[in-house]
Symmetry: C2
DNA sequence: CGTTGTTGACTGACTAGTCAATCTATTTTG
DNA sequence: CAAAATAGATTGACTAGTCAGTCAACAACG
């Protein structure tokens, strides 16, 4: 069940092969896709023997699971922290969008793998991690609910739905970058964060005026 | 390249086996997933010999391709038609959301397959059909651009981005239903259509008031 | 000298796709 | 119209290849 731990004792010695395998897997999964790649591709990319992958991980699946869970835990922790640190609902959503967009700009391959192979692959791996994914929705929904209670957000839009629309917009944006569907100008990451928050909070229509965050 | 045609000449005779294979494939793909199922599963489900699948389709992939392209063509035609028939931008978006939500309520398995195995499976099949998917975005973006030109929508939110946010919200909603992440109350389909349009057009914040479609 | 890390050849299960044979309907012919 | 010929539909056993995971041996280290 549990992933094997990194060999902490000999950390100072050679390189951490387990880490090397994980990092190589990110590159291979991002380039070839989880299903299309062979375990030997990961081992080769990591410069490691085939069997060593199975010394550190029980299966090919567990490699992907580990990558996802490592990163998703950070996301969940960030959302929780944001909810405490920020007060304005719009600022909270902006901070969440920031974290996700920054994650992408910092390590596009890892985010590509998480989105394409787990989050959107709701059949195979998404099913396994549905609880984790749902938790993110619920944390965002809680933010929306609080905003509704204090009168900042409309009460007639279900919080769960709002959370989905918000997260869905972000994920679609990342997907757009990943597959080159969004034009390069929009790849100004700061602008993208503002766009997603402005769209979801302010809406597309012109009725609302100039309710923007300080840039 | 081209899929073999249904045997038109002998249509009045027995059942259309090609159609039976496609319909069976929808069920099998929806239940087991494209990668997890075997071609023999499709043949069994259709009550047809294994080899007949390869008489009508060049490959397992082509079965899925055919299902996707059949349905996506209808979506694109609908968006084009909506753009002509409706005048109000909000009404246009509502009509598009309606078509997609109605498609889901009419045949959940087919929509599940299209979304899970093609649209969101951006790696394998999504890549193949990127042009088709992009076309839907562009048609929606054109609607947004026109709305901006007439002053109904804010000019500062890129049309391409708005299209993605809108489509992303719908797809996320369907995904939520497909995997039980959205609560049952939201499964009131008419309400869902309104929600997605209201969120994207009106925004979550309370600044805008009561600008709703006649229900 | 035992423990942990490391190697890569090997196996066994699995399945997409092939193909030669059979069947059924339609058309041609005498 | 019956017999023969043709075309296309249908069958499923079989092939050829793939690849995840195992294992037995070797290396490094304390």
């Amino acid at each position: 069940m549990s992933a094997s731990r990194p060999p902490a004792a000999r950390a100072k010695n050679g390189p951490d092969k387990r880490r090397m395998i994980l990092d190589a897997a990110v590159r291979v999964f991002a380039n070839q896709g989880f299903h299309a790649c062979r375990v030997s591709d990961i081992a080769d990319e990591a410069g490691v023997a085939y069997g060593l992958v199975y010394h550190y991980f029980a299966s090919k699946d567990e490699v992907l699971d580990t990558l996802f869970l490592e990163r998703w835990a950070v996301l969940l922790a960030t959302i929780r922290q944001v909810d405490v640190e920020e007060t304005n609902p719009r600022a909270k959503l902006h901070a969440i969008a920031s974290f996700i967009v920054d994650s992408y700009s910092h390590d596009p391959d890892l985010m590509k793998v998480i989105i394409v192979e787990v989050t959107r692959a709701a059949n195979s791996f998404g099913q396994t991690h549905l609880a984790q994914i749902r938790e993110a929705y619920e944390l965002i929904a809680a933010i929306v609910t609080a905003a509704q209670a204090e009168g900042a957000f409309k009460a007639e839009i279900d919080a769960e739905f709002a959370a989905m629309a918000f997260y869905g917009a972000i994920e679609q944006m990342l997907t757009g970058w990943i597959f080159g569907l969004l034009p390069r100008e929009a790849e100004d990451f700061e602008h993208a964060k503002w766009l997603v928050v402005e769209t979801v909070c302010g809406g597309l229509e012109t009725t609302t005026v100039g309710n923007t965050l300080p840039g």
